[in-house]
C-alpha cells in the first residue's frame, strides 16, 4: 500500500464523522430530512439590508422574545425577485428591505399579507402602503458624499443631473445593485420620466462612472480620494463618524436641492409574506421592530430616522421634516422591475 493512499482512507471516515458531529448545526439550518429551512418556530427573514446591521438587531430580538430567527441576506431587489420567483414555495416569513419600491413590487405580486393589528397605524401614512400591506421601519435620505480635497464645498453639485457633466468624468461613484440607489432611480423615473432617466444613466456610463457593491464602499472610496463624489444614504457617514470621530473623516455630505430626485427620502421597511407558514412569528418581529425601544436602537446604532411618534431623531442631523425630496409618494416607487430592466439594459447591473 502506498503511503499516500492511506491518508484518504483515514481522512474520509474522519470527515464523515466530523460531518455527523456537526449535524446539529447543519440541521438547524436545514432540517435533517432535507426540507426547506428553519428549526421549529424560527422566523425566516429575507433581508435586503446588510448582515452587519441586521444580525445584531435580530440577535437582540431573539434574546428578548426567545423566538429564533434565520436570515437570508442579499440585495433588496435580489430577494424581492427571488420571492416572486419562489412564489408559494417560498420558505420566507418576513421581508426586510431598504426600498419602498421593492415592497411595492412584492405587494403588486400579491406576496404581502395584511399588516398585523396595531402595526398599520404605528407610523405616519406617508411611510407605509395605502392598503396596509407593508410599513416603513426607519427613514433615510439620499445624499451626495464628496471629497473636499477634490471638490470644494461650493462646487458640489446641487442636483444629480450635474453628475453627467464631463468635468466629473471618472470621479463619480454609485452602487447600482443597491436597493437605495435603485429606489432613487425609480423616483427619478416617476418624477422626470423614463427618457430623462435613461439619458441620465447613459450619461453616467459615458462619463466613466465608478460602480461599487455597497454604499459603505463608496463612502470609503470618497474618503480616501478614490472617487470625488458618491451617491449614498445619509447614515453611512454618521455611522463611520460615530466609529472613528467626525474629525478623522475627510468625506463630507451635501444634500441635493429640494425637489431633486437626489434628495429622495425613502424608508427601510418590511412586510409579512403571504406564503409564510409562521405569520404569527413574523408579525411579532414586525411589531417589535416598531416598538419605541427598538426604534431607539436604530437611532443609536444606524443613525436612521425613527418613524414612530415620540422617538427622537439622531442629534446633529437635519430633521426629517426639513428634507424635501421629489414630490412623490413612496407607494409610487413600486415599478422596481422596470428600473432593474433599465439598469440592465444600460449595462449598469
Amino acid at each position: 500500500m502506498l503511503p499516500h493512499a492511506r491518508l484518504p482512507m483515514l481522512l474520509l471516515p474522519a470527515a464523515v464523522l466530523l460531518a455527523a458531529c456537526s449535524g446539529g448545526d447543519a440541521s438547524s439550518s436545514a432540517n435533517g430530512d432535507g426540507t426547506s429551512a428553519s428549526s421549529a418556530g424560527a422566523v425566516v427573514v429575507y433581508s435586503g439590508r446588510s448582515e452587519d446591521l441586521v444580525e445584531p438587531l435580530l440577535t437582540k430580538f431573539t434574546a428578548e422574545t426567545g423566538i429564533p430567527v434565520e436570515v437570508r441576506y442579499g440585495d433588496t431587489a435580489e430577494l424581492a425577485a427571488q420571492l416572486i420567483e419562489e412564489g408559494e414555495a417560498s420558505p420566507a416569513d418576513l421581508y426586510f428591505g431598504q426600498d419602498a419600491g421593492a415592497l411595492g413590487a412584492l405587494d403588486a405580486a400579491g406576496l404581502c399579507a395584511t399588516l398585523p393589528d396595531g402595526v398599520a397605524s404605528a407610523v405616519p401614512a406617508r411611510y407605509r402602503s395605502a392598503d396596509d400591506t407593508w410599513t416603513g421601519i426607519t427613514g433615510r435620505a439620499r445624499v451626495i458624499a464628496y471629497d473636499p480635497r477634490q471638490v470644494p464645498e461650493a462646487d458640489v453639485p446641487t442636483s444629480v443631473f450635474e453628475l453627467t457633466d464631463p468635468k466629473w468624468r471618472g470621479m463619480v461613484a454609485i452602487a447600482p445593485t443597491n436597493g437605495s440607489f435603485q429606489a432613487f432611480v425609480t423616483a427619478m423615473r416617476v418624477s422626470q420620466g423614463d427618457d430623462t432617466t435613461r439619458d441620465w444613466l447613459q450619461g453616467l456610463v459615458d462619463n466613466d462612472v465608478q460602480t461599487f457593491e455597497k454604499n459603505s464602499l463608496i463612502r470609503d472610496a470618497v474618503d480616501t480620494g478614490g472617487a470625488a463624489l458618491g451617491l449614498i444614504n445619509h447614515y453611512y457617514w454618521y455611522q463611520k463618524a460615530a466609529e472613528i470621530g467626525a474629525d478623522n473623516m475627510n468625506v463630507q455630505l451635501a444634500f441635493a436641492k429640494p425637489g431633486d430626485p437626489g434628495a429622495l427620502v425613502n424608508i427601510a421597511g418590511a412586510c409579512v409574506l403571504s406564503p409564510s407558514d409562521n405569520a404569527a412569528g413574523a408579525a411579532e418581529l414586525l411589531t417589535w421592530m416598531l416598538d419605541p425601544s427598538t426604534q431607539e436602537w436604530f437611532v443609536n446604532e444606524t443613525w436612521e430616522y425613527p418613524l414612530v411618534e415620540g422617538v427622537a431623531a439622531p442629534s446633529g442631523i437635519p430633521p426629517l421634516a426639513d428634507l424635501q425630496g421629489p414630490d412623490i409618494a413612496l407607494a409610487e416607487l413600486e415599478d422596481l422591475p422596470g428600473t432593474l430592466a433599465m439598469l440592465q439594459d444600460i449595462g449598469l447591473t
Binding site: P8, D52, E86, L340
Partner: protein, 545 residues
Amino acid sequence: MGTSTSRRPPLPLLAAAVAAVVVMALPLVYLVIRVVDSGESAWSALWRPRTAETIATSLLLVVLVAVGVLILAVPTAWLLSRTDLPFRRVLIVLVALPLAVPSYVAAYAWIALLPGMSGVLAAALVMSLSTFPYVSIPLMAALRGLDPGLEESARSLGLGRAAVARRVVLPLMWPAAGAGLLLAALYTLAEFGTVSIFRVDAFTRVIYASYRASFDRTAAAVLAVLLVLLALALVAAEARVRGRASRWRTGSGAPRPAAPIHVRGRVRAAGLVWMSCVIGLSLALPVASIIGQLVLSRRRAFDPEAFLGALAGSVSASTLGAAVALILAIPLGVLAARYTGRLVRSLEAGAFAGHGLPGVVIGLALVFLTLMLLPAAYQTLATLAFAYAVLFAPKAVGATRAAVGAAPPELESVARSLGRGPLGAWWQTTGRLAWPGIAAGGLLVLLTAMKELPATLMLRPTGFETLATRLWSRTEVEAFGAAAPYALALIVLAALPAWLMSRWLGSPGSSGRRSQAPRTLDRGDAAADGAWKGAAMHQVKAGPS
C-alpha cells in the same frame, strides 16, 4: 488488449452509467430548455450590447491569463528542469503550492493589501499567478523527458540555438503546455470570486449580477448557456491543435536525460531572483497578507462560533456532495476502466465534459429546476450537495477509472471461476484493490467542494454558511480582518490536494502508481497513463469559484 475489454459491459453497470450521465446533464439541459422556452425575451437578451461586451471581456481576460501563465511558467519550468540552479528540489515544491491558494482567496489577500486594486489587469495578474503551475508542472516533466539527442541532431545539421528552440523544442512542448493552458483558460472562464472582487464584468459576474438584479432571469440564463458554449469551444480548439501536434519516437535507441546546463554568475543570480519573484508574488504575498490581517485584527474580528458554524457547514455539505459524486462516478469509472466501445467512450466523454463547468451556471440551473419541478428541494442541503456532485463528479470518475484500471482484471476472472458471483468477485478483488484510489477521488471532491462559492451562494439553505460564503460576505463589506481566518482555513484545506498532485505529477516516469500496478502499463497503453495524469491534474485545483 486484455481479454476483459472485448466483453460487452453488463447491462446493470451500463444502465447505472447512463443514468449517472443523464443525472449530471439534467441541470444544463433544463437551463437550455428554459432559454429556448422564453423565446422572444431570450432573443432580445442575446442581442443586447452588454452580451457582446461580456464575451469580449471574458475573452480578453482568458488571453491575458494565458499570456501571464506562459510568461510565468516557461522560464520557471526551464530553470527548474534544464539547469543546475541551486535549491531546485525546494523550488519545485514551492512553485506547485500556488495551486493550494484558491484564486479568490489570493484576490482577497491582494485587495486587503491594496484596497484600490480592480479591473481586468488585476484579475489577470492574480489568476495567472494562481494557475501558472497548470503549465509549469507538465512543462517541467516534458522538458525533463525531452531527448537531448534531438536538439543535438538539429544543432549538428546547422540550426542555431534559437532555431532549435523554435523548430524542435517548441513543437515537442506544445502538447504539455497546451493542455495546461486549456485548464487555466477554463478556470479563468469559470472563476467567479476573483472577477467579482476586482469588479471585472466577465461572464460569471454578469450572470450573477443579472440573476440578482432583475425580475426577469432570462438574461442570466442566456448568458449562462453562452458561457458553456464558449468553454466547449475552447476545449474543441485545444483538441484540434493537439490532434495535429502528436509526436513520437521511431526506431530503436533509448532516450537519455539531458545534461543540466550549468548556470553561474549573473545568470544564476538572475535565475534565483526570478524564482524569488514568482514564489514571492504567487505564494508569499497572499499568505503574508492574510496572516497580517489576522494579526492586526485579532482583537475584534474573530468570532469562533461563526467560524465553527461555517466549518461545519462546509464539511457537511461537501461530505454529502462527495458521497453523491461517488455514487454517480463509480459506475462510470468502472465502465471506462474495463470496457471499450463507442457507447462507453461517449459516456466517459459526457462525464468529462462536465469538467470545469462554472458553478454559477449549475447554481442558476438548479434554482430554476428546483423551483419549477421540485419546490420542496429548493434551498436545501440536498440540492446543494447535488450541485457539488454535478460539478465535481468528473474528478471522481477520473480517480475511479485509474484505480480500477490499475487492478488486474484477471483476478476478477479467477474469482468468478472459483464460484463467486459478479458483484462478490468484483468486491473481493478489484474493489479491495481499487477502493483507496476511489476514496481518494471522493476526498478530492470533498476538498474541492469546500471551496465552491457561487453555486453555494445561490443554493444554500437560509442561514447556512460555509467557509467560502463567510470569506465572501466579509470581503464584500471590506471587513478584511474578519475574513482572514476563513481565507487561512481554505488554504489549509486546499493544501492537501495540491500535495497529492505534486506526488502524482511530480515525476512522470516513476509515479508510485506505476510500481503498484505494472500490469496496466504492460499493455503499453500510454493513452491511459496520460488520461490518468490528466485526471490527477483536474483533481487538484479547487474547481473554480
